[in-house]
Symmetry: C2
């Protein structure tokens, strides 16, 4: 037991210096590694560091300008499988690039979001990544624009990931994935199986991600010369419960359809259960498709035909783009492609 008061609390660089019989600057230099220090001094210092179990205060280093950069990730709910994957991508890439990663979930509360972004500005975060669709209102644009400006003026960066862009001139990085295109391809595939009346279980009517997917649904119909019955597009949110509720409602209401396209796999999962509960088989009686290709999609029964979205890649790209932006191309806008993955939940119309 050589330790006594030493481990009573964090020790400072001066404590180390005193113990090694040198000045604080020397300790700093030994630890920094570049400045020339004689072997004997170095070993004495390192000895003291070990004895005291010293670690330099990262915050103090940051103030002095040599800290570990930080990056923040804001999403509504980390519990959703797709965003969890995005979080994974963000965290991995951040770590690869030597950044620390702060997380905040907002539970959809705009106030939380604004406050958190302000905190991140105070933390001098290198970038703040905002994830997930939203209503594209003037209020949204103004608020987001304000966040973008204040981050930019502090040398930081706002990244919009799967969120409505702000129009030209805003200092933001935008990364989107192709909701409309994916939905178009998916619905085209369903229609190609001969289905004429396909129910659409959508998300919020003003939610841009939901809108994109709905547009794809509509466009695919038109491309085949079909005019979809407006009664067939329902609105809810992106949860499993919404899918379950909407599906039950549709059946109770006596709507006619032979296929269902859900705005997300979660919605599809709820819908599938509702279908099963009603004694219907999929795809025998009804075909079903989802969107997102969450890992569970293939373990539903039947395995769900869906649209793959490269969420993890999206997250990685978000941090890479935000951190690696060049003065020439300050405001990048990326659009990632998606592709449909055909499994067993869609069958030709009987």
């Amino acid at each position: 037991m050589t330790r006594k008061s030493e481990d009573a609390g964090r020790s400072t660089i001066r404590d180390v210096a005193a113990r090694a019989g040198v000045s604080a600057s020397t300790v700093s230099r030994v630890l920094g590694g570049v400045y020339p220090v004689s072997a004997s001094t170095r070993s004495r210092v390192l000895r003291a560091v070990r004895d005291l179990d010293y670690v330099a205060d990262a915050r103090a280093k940051a103030v002095a300008g040599v800290g570990t950069p930080t990056l923040a990730f804001v999403l509504e709910d980390i519990t959703g499988p797709s965003f969890a994957h995005m979080a994974y991508g963000v965290e991995r890439e951040a770590r690869r690039l030597g950044h620390l990663c702060l997380v905040c979930t907002t539970e959809g509360d705009v106030q939380h979001e604004v406050e958190f972004v302000e905190m991140m500005r105070a933390q001098r975060a290198a970038a703040v990544i905002l994830v997930g669709g939203s209503a594209d209102t003037p209020e949204y644009r103004e608020r987001t624009r304000r966040m973008a400006d204040s981050l930019a003026s502090a040398g930081s960066r706002l990244v919009l990931c799967g969120r409505p862009p702000l129009g030209p001139g805003a200092p933001v990085t935008v990364i989107e994935y192709d909701n409309e295109g994916g939905a178009y391809a998916l619905v085209a595939h369903v229609l190609a199986q001969g289905h004429q009346r396909v129910l659409f279980l959508g998300g919020g009517a003003d939610h841009t991600t939901a809108q994109g997917r709905e547009r794809g649904y509509l466009a695919a119909h038109r491309a085949r010369g079909l005019d979809p019955d407006p009664a067939l597009v329902l609105h809810g949110d992106f949860t499993r419960d919404s899918g379950h509720r909407l599906m039950r409602g549709a059946m109770k209401q006596g709507l006619e359809f032979t296929a269902v396209v859900a705005a997300t796999d979660m919605v599809a999962a709820g819908a599938l259960t509702a279908l099963h509960e009603a004694g219907l088989t999929v795809p025998g009686d009804i075909s079903l498709a989802g969107y997102d290709d969450i890992p569970f999609a293939r373990d539903l029964y039947p395995a769900l035909t869906t649209v793959h979205v490269p969420y993890e890649e999206l997250g990685r790209l978000a941090v890479r783009t935000a951190l690696g932006r060049t003065p020439e191309h300050p405001d990048e806008h990326l659009l990632l492609g998606t592709h449909v993955v055909v499994r067993n939940s869609v069958a030709p119309k009987a």
Copy 2:
């Protein structure tokens, strides 16, 4: 456009002071809010703050001892549904208590874990929460003990969540959930349906969470006077693919069983798909049960009978306990109960 060079970069408290014609101390006091400042000075300062869009540097405040506390959360993979829920609980509670929340995924790499904990010590994090089972080796204990000590000596705290505890004397907070008890109840339920040969799809043989669940499986058999066939307990990991692979292997090998208990719902999902692929019905031909009660469990077909683990609560408790510990009871050790939730995947033996 009143702004010019102002938004070129972050402004300091001295910039604000200069613009308001006061000293930095006064600005600090106005922003602090408690110290008496005349109305006119205050408004001038606030004006300058708004003009410059000034936010105090959180790192500098931290060095001065008035920062926002931080807390870190380390897990193997945020993509797993159960741990994502725990992360959610941690983040929520951290936010409620005014803490920032850093996240790190280790992908099972011990080295990452150690390095990250060291960074967190440097960040002066209030607590570091380590999540997820592990092999309980001497090497594990020593390494973890070392992390616990060094955090404790820095005034921080290590929290082990669902991880093997370290034995008495280690400065850690331990929060566990009852793996053995839950598995016991679940398997008892299965056996009560008349099944005699129930296959166990386990996790890693040295993984403590997996071991606990396996012990419960064994104990439930013994309690009924049964002696389980060792050939019926298989080992893999906690992934969907492991369940799928193990299940296929068991069938190919011609093992006889009428029920399957999987170590996690993910494993159960993979097993279910394998069963379906083999043309078997659940629970008609084979009964199946999982563990964790992830949200998707009820959307599998049939809805999965499983054991509910209060993951979100676990996360919340972890931060509350770590932050709220008292000098009298420094090292708490909590064990949360679990309960089985009966759905449709287990039926009486034909």
